[in-house]
């Protein structure tokens, strides 16, 4: 029963008008909750104790780590949407991965910049070419390449299908990023939160980190739905304009 309901719900979403109505109802709540979580997360991030070795610079972690997680999650969302485009021809899937690409690029950039700011006091250098940093940088380049490919074609549905192929091929990079710290002996520390045998990070740091991670996730979905809504509107306006131009030329 629940499954049939879920499918009905999902196919309901295929109708852009229904999606817009849903987005209209969801967005204020999501945005409000996101603001609350950010307020709580930032408050926690600035009031918890600093690390005894790193001092206050450890607070960069609360910005850096969730952004890095989100940069990978965003690519996974894009890969799912790409499958949706290619396999089910879901009309919203192509809007979804087109809207997610700039967001992913932004989160990756935040992760890179804050990581670099954190690296200067801790490692003594802005940038090292170790496996984690390099693979995230490649992820950033791939986001930019996908955006460039999307912009290079004027037919949105064809652009969506072709860039889905690229997104799926590029997905090989995601496991490389995730496991780069385990496969190679790198300067970047290995995973300490999501790992077998529980987190090794202290609860004092874990609480603000998780709140910030939830805030970032909500931020991503809020922005993603907003961007999808804008993209649908943009396409509708383009169609209307074309229609208007056609009727205008007929009248003359």
């Amino acid at each position: 029963m629940t499954e049939s309901l879920a499918i009905r719900k999902f196919s309901d979403l295929a109708n852009p008008t229904r999606f817009l109505a849903l987005a209209e109802r969801l967005l204020p709540w999501m945005a409000g909750l996101c603001c609350l979580l950010f307020a709580a997360g930032l408050y926690l991030a600035f009031t918890t104790e600093g690390d005894y070795q790193q001092g206050d610079t450890v607070r960069i972690m609360y910005i850096h780590v969730p952004a890095a997680w989100l940069s990978m999650m965003c690519y996974s969302v894009m890969a799912l949407s790409a499958i949706g485009t290619l396999v089910w021809r879901h009309p919203l899937a192509d809007v979804s991965h087109k809207a997610a690409a700039p967001l992913g690029a932004a989160f990756t950039l935040i992760a890179l910049v804050t990581g670099s700011l954190w690296g200067k006091p801790m490692w003594g250098t802005w940038w090292v070419w170790d496996a984690r940093l390099t693979s995230v940088f490649i992820l950033f380049l791939m986001y930019l390449g996908i955006i460039a490919l999307n912009r290079a074609m004027d037919d949105p549905s064809k652009a969506a299908r072709v860039s889905s192929v690229l997104i799926l091929v590029g997905f090989v990079n995601i496991p490389i990023i995730k496991f780069s710290v385990d496969w190679w002996n790198t300067l970047h520390q290995p995973a300490s939160v999501i790992r077998m045998g529980g987190p090794t990070i202290d609860g004092e740091f874990l609480r603000p980190l998780l709140v910030m991670a939830m805030a970032y996730t909500l931020l991503f979905f809020t922005l993603h739905i907003t961007a999808m809504r804008n993209e649908i509107w943009r396409r509708r306006i383009a169609t209307q304009r074309r229609l208007a131009a056609r009727t205008a030329s007929r009248e003359v």
């Binding site: 380049l141 930019l144 390449g145 290079a152 064809k158 299908r161 072709v162 192929v165 091929v169 990079n173």
Partner: protein, 219 residues
């Protein structure tokens, strides 16, 4: 399939094919390096394998945008799409033809450039061997980029931008295997075998992705 292979080879070797431009580009790129870093032979022999690999990588990207675009221009791409053979196989053959015509000459030319770079005999052999094994992966990855950008009028530069990030693993393991052959403590075989694995992995993924993109890019 053999006919397709021979046709592609003929097309790229005869006048206007541009197979030799790749080698010329390779030679030029490698020849420019000593002007940039200075003619210090010790330094050149140290960075030599990396330079030869990067040169080969860039040169291998050069002819990629023509891989499917030439066929699209004269209409034979539609025939390839419509024939009974599986498209993946056709693309695999096209990749092989591209590799034989455009990339294999680079591999053959690499010892000469190794001499220019003052590399030892072992290093030259290692670079040639790793290029021979690793460069097919470049052709397979490139096929995806070429297929994605096939309908674009000026896709050449975009293909390079899309493909280069994906080729970085090939470059990493190719260069590390070449260095491992020269420097003693590092073993040669593990990076070399990973390079072989990458090539075989992309031999499957590349034609599949390219076939998917070509089917979707059709007008």
């Amino acid at each position: 399939m053999t006919a397709l292979l021979l046709r592609d080879l003929k097309l790229s070797f005869r006048a206007g094919g541009g197979a030799l431009i790749g080698i010329l580009f390779f030679l030029t790129v490698v020849a420019v390096i000593p002007f940039g870093v200075g003619p210090d032979l010790n330094l050149l022999s140290r960075i030599g394998p990396a330079i030869v690999w990067i040169g080969a990588l860039l040169a291998a990207l050069l002819g990629l945008d023509r891989l499917f675009q030439a066929d699209r221009d004269d209409g034979s791409l539609d025939l390839l799409l419509m024939q009974e053979h599986p498209l993946v196989l056709t693309i695999l053959v096209k990749c092989l033809a591209h590799w034989l015509a455009n990339v294999l000459p680079l591999v053959i030319a690499s010892p000469l450039l190794g001499l220019f770079m003052n590399m030892s005999e072992v290093a030259i052999g290692a670079v040639m061997l790793t290029l021979l094994v690793g460069s097919p992966a470049l052709a397979f990855i490139g096929a995806v980029g070429a297929a994605v950008a096939v309908t674009l009028p000026r896709g050449g530069l975009l293909v390079s931008i899309l493909v280069l990030p994906l080729t970085i693993p090939v470059l990493i393991f190719g260069v590390s295997a070449s260095y491992a052959a020269v420097e003693d403590p590092a073993p040669f075989l593990p990076p070399f075998l990973i390079l072989v694995a990458i090539t075989m992995f992309f031999a499957v993924i590349g034609p599949l992705g390219a076939a998917l993109a070509l089917r979707n890019a059709g007008d």
